[in-house]
């Protein structure tokens, strides 16, 4: 009888990928809620890790006609001491029950693992990014040097010896260059032979030698260089400064908006740069560098001096992040309050020290939930930045009171790619 043994291991995997996508699409609202919740609990840097999420089974269940209750008869194995007619007191659950009506059905929450890409996709979806931006974010960049065959010119360090010698050999064979052994044999023969044979041989030897001289062992046309395609290699590391006003006037909603903005910036930077550092600077009337948890949740009180944060950032850049080695991004979130006397200091710091070294400086003015950004009156900080922008300073600024409004801040950033790196709109 014929038997077939088939190796299926090499078949394309993920046959159920499409079913999985259908499932995710169907559970989209739920999964998105879970992702949102999960991203609120996460640190900014973890936003890109996939991970297990759990969604309620509502709407995802597959109902069946199922019976319950009534009198039950069951036969069980392993009787030890019961005799016919015994009555066993009920102790809640624990007696052998009928097998569950199918796995999953009995669970009230459904846990599963999202891959990194799925998680980011859903996270970005939640921010209501336009498709174009999502595609850009999803692009992975190849960078560095690549081998690209051989060239006839190049630097001596890149000579490909094996390729050169091979070509030289081929040329010598093709042109029938006399081999050294042949010449040596001939010379030996000359030493032993007599005239007139001897002079014939000498002539022959001369001819061979002349030919050997005419055909060099290695000719410049044999030489090959390893060729490399150099791709413009961007500075592969970036630092992201998160500046935030934490004075009492900032509500939780405002902080959440700011956090989302920072997350998005982080996602974007992470896609572009191999290594991304984050520096958190919070300020009231004094500024300090803090860790993420303190940044978002630590209590603080005091007045508001924006210049203190800018000063702190400048200090940190000077000490730790040389602009030549680092791409510097800064994002500032505030409700716009600033003491009036501080305005000039801020303007000077920004134009002279901060903006020249930054790739991108975004200012996010956050408003309260339910408000509309266009209803927000110009704050003192806003008017100041507006003026700087009018003077040609490369600032991105937005007023935001709802998370769907966060993305437009990035618009400038994406627009700018491909044009000269530093020019801002």
């Amino acid at each position: 009888m014929a038997i077939h043994i088939i190796d299926r291991r090499l078949n394309p995997g993920s046959k159920s990928l499409e079913n999985r996508q259908r499932f995710l699409r169907r559970a989209k609202a739920l999964v998105q809620g879970a992702v949102k919740k999960s991203s609120q609990d996460r640190d900014i840097k973890d936003v890109l890790e996939g991970g297990e999420i759990s969604i309620p089974l509502d709407g995802m269940d597959e109902p069946r006609f199922r019976r319950e209750g009534g009198t039950r008869d069951m036969v069980l194995p392993g009787n030890k001491k019961f005799v016919e007619g015994d009555v066993l007191p009920r102790s809640g659950e624990g007696r052998g029950r009928k097998s569950a009506p199918g796995e999953g059905d009995s669970e009230d929450a459904f846990r599963f693992v999202l891959s990194r890409d799925e998680f980011v996709d859903l996270f970005l979806d939640d921010l209501e990014l336009p498709d174009l931006a999502k595609r850009r974010l999803a692009q992975t960049e190849t960078e560095g040097i690549e081998r690209a065959g051989y060239a006839t010119s190049g630097s001596p360090a890149n000579i490909s010896i094996s390729r050169t010698v091979r070509l030289a050999l081929a040329r010598r064979v093709a042109l029938r260059r006399p081999r050294p052994e042949t010449i040596a044999e001939l010379e030996a023969e000359i030493a032993e032979s007599e005239e007139p044979r001897r002079s014939e041989l000498i002539a022959e030897l001369e001819a061979l030698k002349a030919k050997a001289n005419r055909i060099p062992f290695i000719d410049p046309i044999d030489i090959r260089y390893r060729r490399f395609e150099t791709k413009p290699k961007p500075v592969a590391q970036a630092v992201m400064f998160c500046l935030m006003d934490v004075s009492g006037s900032m509500s939780e909603h405002m902080k959440d908006l700011a956090k989302r903005f920072y997350m998005l910036l982080y996602v974007f930077l992470k896609k572009r740069y191999r290594h991304v550092e984050i520096v958190f600077i919070r300020h009231t009337d004094r500024a300090e560098e803090v860790d993420e948890d303190t940044f978002f949740h630590g209590p603080a009180s005091g007045g508001t001096l924006v210049s203190s944060a800018l000063e702190a950032m400048h200090e940190i850049v000077r000490e730790r992040f040389r602009p030549a080695d680092w791409n510097i991004y800064a994002a500032q979130a505030s409700d716009g309050d600033n003491s009036t006397s501080d305005g000039e200091v801020v303007a000077r710091l920004l134009t002279d020290k901060i903006l020249p070294v930054c790739q991108f400086f975004a200012y996010l003015e956050v408003g309260d939930a339910g408000g509309h950004s266009f209803e927000m009156p110009d704050s003192s900080l806003w008017s100041l930045y507006e003026r700087l922008r009018g003077d040609g300073a490369p600032l991105s600024m937005r007023k935001v009171s709802d998370r769907s409004e966060i993305f437009p801040v990035f618009h400038d950033l994406f627009q700018r790619r491909g044009k000269s790196e530093k020019a801002a709109p």
């Binding site: 038997i3 159920s16 006609f65 392993g78």
Partner: protein, 511 residues
């Protein structure tokens, strides 16, 4: 003394071939098995998970619920909560067995003996499979189903198709013909004629319904209840079949989808009725083959011990008070009964002669077993062949749990002279499909009024339907029917215990 089939744990395709040929030799000459041609496929763990998600079939139409199951299995597999099966075998011709690449050579031998010969023989010879499944046609039919569903999605939109399939899946357990029809199921034919049959039945069906709302004029064409029910084929317990044939506003493609789901449900129907027998057969076969291979020196002692260890795990039956207990292990019960039958045939004692006069001491164990495998299902198998000796060995007892009885649960029978028959009857009933699924049937359609579809659930032993789930299922049903649907739960004395009434959602019917 012959040579070892393999050394150590490694195997390659030549080894698999050799193992298969050797097993086949034993299976045919010694056990007299009759099998479909074998096709053995080596797959990875991920592919095994894929197969789990699509109910073990190599190809299946796309639906989100399979994705959900996949995500669920994957999560628990990754966390190490769940091991994967060593094999999956498909009732088709050729019979396809999947082997995991991680298995050792011994495991592959075990799996080939178990699936490619044990299950394979059972699929080919058991009367239920012969009656209900078409091993030759199933793969082609699934291929057809897959492309048909894909086409429907293209033509009518993914959502509409999803709605219909959701509804059909909810009714899947009630989309089965329980009594054999006049002709054998032929899935190839099914597929070929799908189109023309659709058109024809549309026509027939429309005529019937056109007479319905014609108001006062119906005095002439009035249908007596009797005649109406007969025309509609009522009462009907195959809900999917009834909807496919008579639901007034379904599109032809929706009917075809219902039909596909119905055929798939029907295909799996014998498997749900023969778990104990099917696994028992396969386990018995692999045990016989492996022992023979070891005796004849084709498997080393070490590898045989490895086999015995997995075999023991497979046939392990925890006792009722063990935390691992979750009902009867079909492998354990089936294997124990097969071995018990072999013992009675070859080496009976007086009790066996009294209880099983037909087979006790008849001498031809394989002949008896092959006959059993061909002609029984779990219910009848246990009802017929569970011996007092095995009842004692497993220490079976019967509990009667009546919620009305405040004192507690009654121990109704134990493994003694008085209890054997009662235990056997009760255990056999646990495997009776008639008891496993709720008995729900279409009883009537209110043709004169609002076209309401009337269902009835006959309540057995006071066990009523779960309310939340039932409402959801009925909602699906109403969406397909596109008029109101009612369900009455009735006990044996015709007393109405509960009534449901659902209206169709406007969107779904418009699909």
């Amino acid at each position: 003394m012959s040579e070892l089939l393999y050394h150590g744990a490694d195997w390659d395709f030549v080894t698999l071939q050799r193992i298969h040929d050797t097993c086949e030799e034993v299976a045919k000459s010694e056990l007299g098995l009759d099998v479909y041609p074998n096709q053995i496929e080596v797959i990875t763990a991920e592919q095994m998970l894929d197969a789990y998600a699509s109910v073990g079939m190599p190809l299946f139409y796309k639906h989100w619920s399979f994705g959900k199951h996949f995500a669920f299995h994957e999560a628990s597999y990754r966390k190490g909560l769940m091991g994967l099966a060593y094999e999956i075998v498909i009732n088709s011709s050729p019979c396809i067995s999947y082997l995991m690449e991680e298995n050792t050579a011994t495991m592959q031998t075990l799996v080939i003996a178990h699936a490619a010969f044990g299950h394979n023989h059972f699929f080919k010879n058991n009367y239920l499979f012969k009656q209900w499944t078409d091993a030759d046609g199933i793969l082609d039919y699934l291929e057809f189903a897959k492309s048909y569903v894909a086409q429907c999605e293209e033509r009518h939109g993914r959502l509409a198709v999803e709605h219909t399939l959701d509804a059909a899946h909810a009714l899947m357990s009630h989309g089965i013909d329980r009594y054999p029809g006049k002709k054998k199921l032929d899935l190839r034919e099914e597929e070929r004629r799908a189109g023309q049959r659709r058109a024809h039945e549309e026509a027939v069906f429309n005529d019937l319904w056109r007479t319905v709302p014609s108001g006062p004029a119906k005095s002439k064409t009035v249908l007596t209840a009797e005649r109406r029910r007969r025309l509609l084929g009522l009462p009907q317990e195959n809900l999917l079949y009834f909807l496919e044939k008579t639901a007034p506003r379904l599109q032809p493609w929706q009917r075809e989808l219902l039909r596909i789901v119905r055929h798939v449900a029907q295909y799996f129907y014998p498997q749900s009725q023969t778990k104990v027998m099917n696994e028992g057969t396969a386990t018995y076969v692999h045990y016989r083959i492996m022992s023979r291979l070891h005796e004849s020196g084709r498997i080393s002692d070490g590898n045989f011990l490895e086999f015995l260890q997995s075999h023991t795990n497979v046939v392990f039956q925890p006792e009722f008070d063990d935390p691992r207990f979750s009902g009867f292990n079909p492998y354990a019960l089936g294997f124990a009964m097969m071995q018990d039958i072999e013992r009675m045939v070859v080496n009976p004692d007086d009790e066996d002669r009294e209880w099983f006069p037909e087979i006790a001491g008849s001498g031809d164990a394989m002949g008896v077993l092959r006959d059993v495998w061909a002609n029984y299902r779990d219910e009848s198998f246990i009802g017929q062949f569970l011996s007092p000796r095995l009842i004692r060995q497993l220490r079976l007892f019967h509990l009667h749990d009546d919620p009305a009885e405040r004192a507690g649960i009654l121990v109704d029978a134990i493994h003694n002279e008085r209890g054997y028959r009662r235990i056997r009857r009760e255990l056999s009933r646990q495997y009776d499909v008639g008891y496993i699924d709720a008995n729900i049937e279409v009883v009537d359609v209110d043709l004169a009024g609002d076209c309401r579809l009337m269902l009835r659930h006959t309540v057995v032993k006071g066990s009523q339907l779960n309310e939340t789930d039932t409402k959801r299922v009925l909602q699906h049903l109403a969406d397909l029917w596109s008029y109101d649907v009612s369900l009455q739960e009735i006990d044996v004395h015709d007393k109405v215990l509960k009534e449901y009434m659902l209206h169709p959602r406007p969107l779904a019917a418009a699909a």
